[in-house]
């Protein structure tokens, strides 16, 4: 039974595409046939993060308009045999998305894939709306900081009221992925604590992804960060994938490592 999961946030730049890439790769690594769709028409990034930007021939909009078949647009990932990418158009914009077209494409994908991950654009307009409308579940991404938490709250409200599941009277399961969690800044009080975020959003926590230089490195070389075994962020994404698949893994809040005397004298961080 295929599952359509939307990765959304409201706020831009919090880590939706990074997370969509990492979680999709993680699901494929665990043996599930997964496709990740870029809904950010006109500002596409998913193909860059996945490293397939030089292999895009046809895209999501071509398929919606009937210019190409779904299989002509799907790009098979070179590293993982279970992973496929449906890139979107860079020359069009979100007006090119139609509700019928999206419904049809997702319907076709449901026949073949175990997981369909929808990488939503930022905002609450058409692109974000269509990315979430047909979803079975939502992962709301937020940074531990006031503006993204407020936007996430708005998005949670929209998911609960404007999705198709909501229109049918069913509650959409939602989880929270807290990204770019900078331990030092949280401990200094510059960023919100997990409890504070939970107090406002009241949505179960899928995972906490620490702020990590490996994320930028991964996007530069076009590979999902979960495939970087040395990365803290990558490991946190792998745990999140485990929780998505039902593994019993309690979420641990990252804590600052203790700095020894020499480190403090020399100004080194642990």
């Amino acid at each position: 039974m295929a599952k359509v999961i939307v990765i959304t946030s409201g706020k831009g730049g919090v880590g939706k595409t990074t997370s969509a890439a990492a979680l999709s790769a993680g699901l494929a690594l665990r043996g599930h046939k997964t496709v990740v769709i870029d809904f950010d028409v006109g500002l596409r990034n998913l193909d860059l993060i996945m490293g397939c930007e030089r292999r895009v021939v046809y895209d999501f909009i071509n398929v919606i308009n009937g210019d190409a078949k779904l299989h002509q647009a799907l790009i098979k990932d070179k590293r993982l045999e279970n992973l496929f990418v449906l890139p979107t158009s860079q020359t069009r914009d979100k007006e090119a998305l139609t509700q019928d077209g999206v419904e049809r494409v997702i319907g076709d994908l449901r026949q073949e894939f175990d997981f369909i991950i929808c990488d939503s654009p930022a905002g609450i307009e058409r692109g974000a709306f269509l990315a979430m409308y047909y979803a079975d579940e939502a992962i709301v991404v937020s940074n531990p900081e006031v503006s993204s938490v407020r936007d996430a709250d708005r998005m949670i409200g929209l998911l609960a009221s404007k999705s198709r599941l909501a229109e049918q009277g069913t509650e959409m399961p939602q989880t929270l992925l807290l990204t770019r969690y900078d331990v030092e800044r949280v401990e200094k009080g510059e960023m919100l604590k997990v409890e504070d975020v939970q107090d406002i959003l009241a949505v179960p926590l899928l995972g906490i992804i620490p702020e990590c230089p490996s994320v930028l490195q991964a996007s530069n070389i076009g590979t999902p960060v979960i495939l970087d075994e040395k990365s803290n962020a990558g490991r946190a994404y792998a745990e999140a994938v485990g929780r998505m698949l039902g593994d019993e893994l309690p979420v641990t809040v990252p804590r600052g490592a203790k700095r020894g005397l020499i480190d403090r004298l020399l100004g080194r961080s642990a």
Binding site: R150, D151, D153, R154, I156, G157, L158, A160, S161, D199, I200, A202
Partner: protein, 242 residues
């Protein structure tokens, strides 16, 4: 359209206690209709469409015509204009901010002139009022998320859960929040000055009773973050810990 609060002053009654009447200043919340181009042929069709979005909210509503936007336009036949407004179900009761020419036309049409008061931003009547057209108390047992607007018509509003920043609660009666109130709460929307606001954790952006409002900065610092009630005692807004 915007809500308008006429200045509230307690005037000493000039008669003795045995008098058959009492003359006092009252604070009323009224809708204003700002006229920009009343001669526009689209005026009434567009107004009719707007009123149809929330018919219960506007039915028989007293309305003040704000004439500040008419500029140098000559006055229209206000008697006939008002008759057409009445046909749409709203009741013009006076004018505001008119220049001399419009003022004369209004007097001729029997419309009194209201002094300008401080305008509060009344919430735009969204689709919410159309859905909750039935009266009675409304209970919401889930968090009210940012951007959501809830209006309890002709009754109280009870929320069991937090109310986020950017959310709006409106009620003709009282508002109770069994959780943190971080958004806006406007009680007594139809003019009931006895309406009160109660909450478990006071962190509201704005509170209002029958159009009289206070923003977060005007809340008692000692009450912030604590259980509180807010009401109007006839002279001023009162805040008290619960």
């Amino acid at each position: 359209m915007s809500g308008n609060e006429q200045g509230a002053r307690q005037v000493n009654s000039i008669t003795e206690d045995s008098a058959p009447f009492q003359l006092r200043a009252a604070s009323l919340t009224l809708l204003t209709l700002k006229l920009v181009n009343p001669a526009d042929p689209d005026f009434f069709p567009r107004l009719a469409t707007m009123l149809s979005l929330a018919p219960g909210f506007y039915r028989n509503a007293p309305i003040v015509l704000d004439l500040s936007g008419t500029g140098a336009r000559p006055p229209v036949d206000l008697a006939e204009f008002c008759a057409r407004l009445t046909e749409l179900g709203i009741n013009p009761v006076g004018i505001q901010r008119a220049n001399a020419a419009w003022e004369r036309a209004a007097v001729a049409a029997g419309l009194p002139s209201f002094p300008t008061g401080r305008a509060t931003e009344a919430p735009t009547a969204s689709k919410e009022p159309a859905k909750a057209a039935s009266g009675g108390t409304r209970i919401i047992a889930e968090p009210v998320r940012s951007g959501r607007q809830v209006y309890a018509h002709k009754g109280d509003l009870i929320v069991i859960g937090p109310v986020s920043h950017g959310a709006e609660l409106l009620a003709d009666g009282h508002i109770h929040v069994y959780g943190a109130l971080r958004g806006r709460a406007l009680a007594g929307m139809s003019g009931d000055k006895t309406a009160r606001i109660f909450c478990r954790v006071l962190e509201a952006e704005l509170v209002a009773v029958a159009g009289l409002y206070m923003v977060n900065e005007q809340l008692e610092p000692a009450l912030l973050g604590k259980p509180a009630q807010i009401w109007f005692d006839g002279a001023a807004m009162v805040q008290q810990g619960l």
